[in-house]
């Protein structure tokens, strides 16, 4: 852990000094040890502020789209985060050549809110980044954690009405603070569809129905793009398990279109693509 932090600082310093990167997106100190923060180091003198510990859960790719295209950025990524990078590159929101990817081989981060380890029931939790330029440590060994979709079993096996009870209770809690979409690295739309008045897709006041409209549409917008980093659920102040819905949509996309999101730079998003031989059975 400390080794990773040191390597991270070392590389950050080198990249900023050499001008290979104008900014290093990593993690910094927060108001206490358990609450680090996303951090953008822009000068060599900032490097000392960089930290890495098990609470650094943030998917730093979230901030990439805030920089103008062409900015040279070095970014620290864990496994899911690297998949986000791949999707953003597929979508041409960032260019491969502008990014120095500092891969962090580390899993089982800790959610500071719950104190629990993040595993593949709340995120993809692959052991190593899928794409990186520099790996800040040795590769983490594979481990049989089962499928990241195993967690869905209970919900999938529920009777339809019971599942509706579950989700309607969850979505009723939503206060529409939009932390989920703002924490999401794929939700770079500004304005979001839900903020618009022509048409107004759903009431601005929270209600089960208007919340559903927002969340279901957002799940659709993330279909085939979500890489299961779990930031939405961690950001949610009222603990709606949004990641479960995202996982389900990802699972369906994988089954129907035979493509796992954020695993290859050559893929095209499944929702802006088609195959003539897609089966009509997917509509049944």
């Amino acid at each position: 852990m400390k080794d990773i932090e040191n390597r991270l600082k070392q590389e950050a310093k080198r990249l900023l000094e050499s001008g290979e990167a104008e900014v290093v997106l990593a993690y910094g100190r927060g108001y206490d040890e358990k609450h680090p923060m996303p951090y953008a180091a822009k000068a060599v003198s900032d490097v000392d502020n960089i930290v890495f510990d098990e609470y650094c859960t943030f998917n730093m790719t979230r901030y990439l789209t805030e920089y103008p295209l062409g900015t040279k950025i070095a970014i620290a990524v864990k496994s899911c985060d690297s998949r986000t990078l791949i999707v953003l590159m597929q979508e041409e929101k960032v260019k491969r050549e502008d990014i120095v990817i500092l891969g962090i081989p580390y899993r089982d981060m800790i959610d500071s809110k719950t104190g629990k380890a993040i595993d593949n029931s709340t995120a993809c939790n692959l052991p190593n980044p899928v794409l990186y330029d520099i790996l800040l440590g040795d590769e983490v060994t594979e481990r049989d954690d089962g499928s990241p979709y195993d967690v869905l079993k209970e919900l999938e096996e529920m009777e339809l009405d019971v599942r509706w009870e579950f989700w309607s209770k969850e979505f009723s809690k939503c206060i529409r603070c939009y932390a989920c979409r703002k924490a999401c690295p794929m939700c770079y739309c500004d304005p979001c569809f839900i903020d618009q008045s022509q048409p107004r897709w759903a009431d601005k006041s929270p209600s089960l129905e208007s919340n559903l409209m927002f969340h279901l549409t957002r799940f659709y917008h993330l279909a085939g793009r979500c890489i299961d980093c779990g930031e939405c659920s961690r950001a949610c102040p009222v603990d709606i398990p949004l990641h479960l819905f995202h996982k389900k949509v990802s699972k369906e996309c994988e089954e129907m279109f035979d493509q796992v999101s954020g695993m290859s730079l050559d893929d095209k998003q499944v929702m802006v693509d088609f195959k003539m031989e897609d089966s009509d059975e997917i509509l049944l």
Binding site: L160, R163, W164, S168, E209, M213, F219, A223, M271, I282
Partner: protein, 142 residues
Amino acid sequence: MEFEPKILGIACNWCTYTGADLAGTTRVQYPHNVRVARVMCSSRVNPAFIFRAFQLGSDGVLIGGCEPGDCHYSTGNYYARRRLAITKKILEFAGLEPERFRVEWISASDGIKFAEVVKEFTEEIRALGPQTKFKVKKDIET
């Protein structure tokens, strides 16, 4: 009173809407429950339209497009197929009966199929009963 389903139909201009016209000109009778809105292509259907339709109290939503390969815009319905498929999965996972959402490819020459689909779908929805899960509850706060 017996439950009369209210079903929203969205038909592409070139195939399904034309097919429905053919059902009309050939006087094929079918239930009155489907109210059709016309779009130029099934690919115009944004999944959010479907979520919205259920909010507005549709008991079922029926989308009709050209047969794959016959899209007037050549590939629109291939995109529609993927999007509407995932839409259906989303609805189902949220807990809505997936049978309430149906996509059919109905060609311009297939007035009979249009009528058959409407008949079958209406009866299925009738059996399911009113859709209350997504429907916006009018506030009756006093």
